[in-house]
């Protein structure tokens, strides 16, 4: 490894922060970057690719950032007051994050989730004491959004709805934290920022911050290549209810990723990099590699939204044995 390479790799880590914090909420953010090597075949030596490991957040995903920001914003505006319940629709990680934040602050949480989210997610949310209402699996996350709207309409005075799809505090969380962290961690050398899109909050807020520092930074979104896909947490925008905070015109590129290819990349990340990640990480990395292979130099940062232990019961691992996973 060259000296120049070593100089750039100066990640922050939870271990370098304060020795004690007053609550779990102070552990949100400041996640490390890890450089990827073996899975980057076909990429020129001058191109470096880093994954930002959002699984290090206390709720286990990138969603801790917007969940905390939206709740803080609700408290500041007086929209969330004692006696109210936090309510939202979510297919998983935002639910876990809201349940964690609600538990830490002492507010009850109710979540509407499609019935087909992974068993681990259901159990984690329950462990934080949140109540879960299941919507029709056939209707996906849009079904959960619609059911949540009906519940809110019946008793609006009971609830505070963060509304992650339309709340500017979602992308603002990333503008204020994820963006500055990446800029600092790469010492301003980032050339490409890549994230998969669920609500669009991560790519919008982080992208806006990075472009404000350097307008040449390319902001690239990964999305499922078809409406019928297996990338939990991600949206195929052309066939979905488009979130109000998502502004496609602010992206430089959007790349479609096949579910099977993303699953296979997750297998490789585990075996070749020692990183067990969720499928949205595999999808985002594939999009990054597609761009990176056409370049001779560059510094990529790819958002890895969560770790893979949350998906061990899912069908993602059905192909593991035929991929060679059973070998010792």
């Amino acid at each position: 490894m060259s000296t120049a390479r070593a100089a750039l790799a100066r990640p922050t880590s939870p271990a370098t922060g304060p020795l004690t914090v007053p609550s779990a909420l102070q552990l949100v953010g400041n996640t490390p970057l890890v450089e990827l090597r073996r899975v980057c075949d076909g990429v020129a030596p001058g191109v470096r690719i880093f994954g930002k490991l959002e699984g290090f957040n206390p709720g286990g995903s990138v969603k801790d950032r917007p969940a905390l920001k939206m709740v803080e914003d609700g408290l500041a505006r007086g929209a969330l007051v004692p006696g109210k319940t936090i309510l939202d629709s979510t297919s998983g990680n935002t639910g876990i994050a809201l349940a964690m934040v609600g538990a830490a602050l002492g507010y009850p949480v109710e979540l509407v989730m499609p019935g087909n989210v992974s068993a681990e997610r259901k159990k984690v949310v329950a462990a934080f004491g949140a109540k879960v209402i299941y919507s029709d699996p056939l209707e996906g996350s849009d079904g959960a959004i619609r059911l949540c709207r009906r519940i809110l309409a019946e008793a609006p005075e009971r609830y505070f709805k963060p509304d992650q799809y339309n709340n500017p505090a979602n992308s603002l969380a990333h503008y204020e934290t994820t963006g500055p962290e990446i800029w600092r961690q790469t010492e301003g050398r980032i050339t490409h920022f890549v994230a998969a899109i669920g609500t669009g909050g991560t790519i919008m807020g982080t992208g806006r911050y990075l472009k404000a520092q350097n307008p040449d930074v390319q902001v690239i979104a990964a999305e499922p290549d078809d409406a019928f896909h297996g990338l939990e947490g991600l949206k195929h925008m052309a066939t979905s209810i488009v979130p109000g905070i998502f502004h496609e015109e602010q992206l430089d590129r959007k790349i479609g990723v096949a579910t099977d290819a993303a699953y296979d990349m997750v297998y490789r990340l585990g075996r070749e990099e020692g990183l067990l990640l969720g499928q949205s990480s595999g999808a985002a990395l594939l999009a990054a590699l597609e761009v990176a292979r056409g370049l001779s130099a560059g510094t990529f940062v790819v958002i890895f939204p969560d770790f893979g232990d949350r998906y061990l019961s899912t069908k993602m691992w059905l192909g593991w044995a035929s991929f060679g996973g059973g070998r010792t």
Binding site: K63, T90, S91, G92, N93, T94, M113, P114, N116, V117, P137, L138, E139, G140, S141, D142, G143, A144, I145, Q164, Y165, G198, T199, P224, D226, A227, F228, H229, G230, L231, E232, G233, L234, K235, H236, T239, S240, P243, T259, D260, Y263, T314, K315, M316, L318, G319
Partner: protein, 91 residues
Amino acid sequence: MVQVKIPTPLRKYTGGAGGVEADGGTVAALVDDLDRRYPGLKERICDESGQVRRFVNIFVNGEDIRFLKHLETALKAGDELSIVPAIAGGR
């Protein structure tokens, strides 16, 4: 005839219908019949080797065919088959 429940993202193949009918003595035969009636459906459900894609769950009367006989699971008139993606989009 078997009653087939179609998830929202696949309804572009069925003219928007959430429930359709198809024929077949096994799940494999039914998927072929579905593809004859609604061309393009099979490719979304099965991969190039003919196996059910990893992220697709097929339930017969509420039972996952992976715990039955996979694509060779027998069907009879009046059964209900559901095609459910293993995920949900948007976090």
